[in-house]
């Protein structure tokens, strides 16, 4: 890891400034992912953005964007809650689409079901108006990089 990235990660550990980490990941910036709230667990927000449309007729957010946002959120979630400091590597990702993602703000939260020494299993939900009516649910495995 470069010294610059290590510094950003250490700072965010020390003072909870996770926006700096998100800002350091170009793909998160491309989609527009932000940290929405941080209670016991982080909630991420993907603000409505016409560049993220994949179905211009409805219009609806591209399914790949919803997946990419959920995967990135899960990696950030691990980064925020893990003890070691390093971006985890995605191994596999599986998503079920439950409803069309309308062109409005989308929220994402994660649940780490198991974190071993090498692999973490994360469940991810995405919703728009009601957390009880998710637009997609996903699961992912990450390889945890030891620094």
């Amino acid at each position: 890891m470069t010294e610059a990235m290590r510094k950003i990660l250490q700072q965010c550990r020390d003072n909870g400034d996770f926006d700096a980490v998100i800002d350091a990941v170009p793909y998160a910036g491309l989609l527009g992912i932000k940290l929405h709230s941080m209670d016991l667990q982080p909630t991420f927000i993907l603000p409505a953005n016409k560049d993220n449309i994949g179905n211009p007729i409805l219009p609806a957010i591209h399914g790949g964007v919803i997946a990419g946002c959920m995967e990135t959120s899960a990696a950030l979630h691990l980064l925020m809650t893990m003890e070691s400091i390093a971006l985890p590597k995605i191994i596999d990702f599986s998503i079920d689409y439950l409803r069309a993602g309308r062109l409005q703000d989308t929220f994402v939260s994660c649940q780490v079901w198991r974190q071993g020494s090498r692999v973490a299993n994360v469940a991810i939900n995405a919703w728009q108006t009601d957390p009880g009516e998710p637009i997609a649910t996903a699961r992912a495995h990450f390889l945890l990089v030891q620094e």
């Binding site: 890891m1 470069t2 990235m5 350091a24 990941v25 170009p26 793909y27 998160a28 910036g29 491309l30 989609l31 016409k50 560049d51 993220n52 449309i53 994949g54 179905n55 211009p56 007729i57 591209h62 399914g63 790949g64 964007v65 997946a67 990419g68 946002c69 995967e71 990135t72 990696a75 971006l87 590597k89 995605i90 191994i91 596999d92 990702f93 599986s94 998503i95 079920d96 689409y97 069309a100």
Partner: protein, 145 residues
């Protein structure tokens, strides 16, 4: 025939704003198979330390490739929303590499279309990820080719 289907697939993908943002292009399409290209760009980097692209950009490539294959396997072109999709990331794509996503229709059923595909590095054809995706048929036809 495949020229017409490549053109139809190109029209289908070119109106998707997020695919335009990623400069995704249709390289080839017939009634079973679609090949898309995702050029490397700094905007899709997921790890700023090494320039490796985010897995999400590969997921978007394959959702689009598989969805276009599902669309194109019908005479009239049917827009089929993704029901579910799974990605397996075999290895990190080399930074700077353009990526080629190939999708195939495995089975066309009454209510569903089953697809599979993989992502390769353009320069050496090395597979970096595989994908399985299923699509719902909702009877949304966009007109004949």
């Amino acid at each position: 025939m495949s020229d017409q289907l490549t053109q139809r697939a190109t029209r289908f993908v070119s109106v998707l704003p997020h695919c335009r943002l990623l400069n995704m292009t249709v390289e080839y399409a017939d009634g079973e198979k679609v090949i898309l290209k995702l050029p490397y760009s700094e905007a899709i980097i997921g790890n700023p330390d090494n320039g490796i692209v985010a897995g999400g950009s590969l997921t978007t490539l394959m959702d689009t490739a598989c969805g276009t294959a599902a669309f194109n396997c019908f005479e009239d072109g049917e827009v089929c929303p993704t029901l579910d999709l799974r990605m397996d990331y075999h290895r990190a794509a080399k930074p700077g590499e353009n990526l080629i996503g190939e999708a195939r229709v495995i089975k066309r059923a009454n209510s569903l279309v089953f697809t599979q595909g993989e992502v390769r590095q353009e320069s050496d054809n090395v597979v970096v990820a595989t994908c399985t995706a299923n699509f719902m048929r909702i009877g949304l036809r966009l007109g004949s080719k």
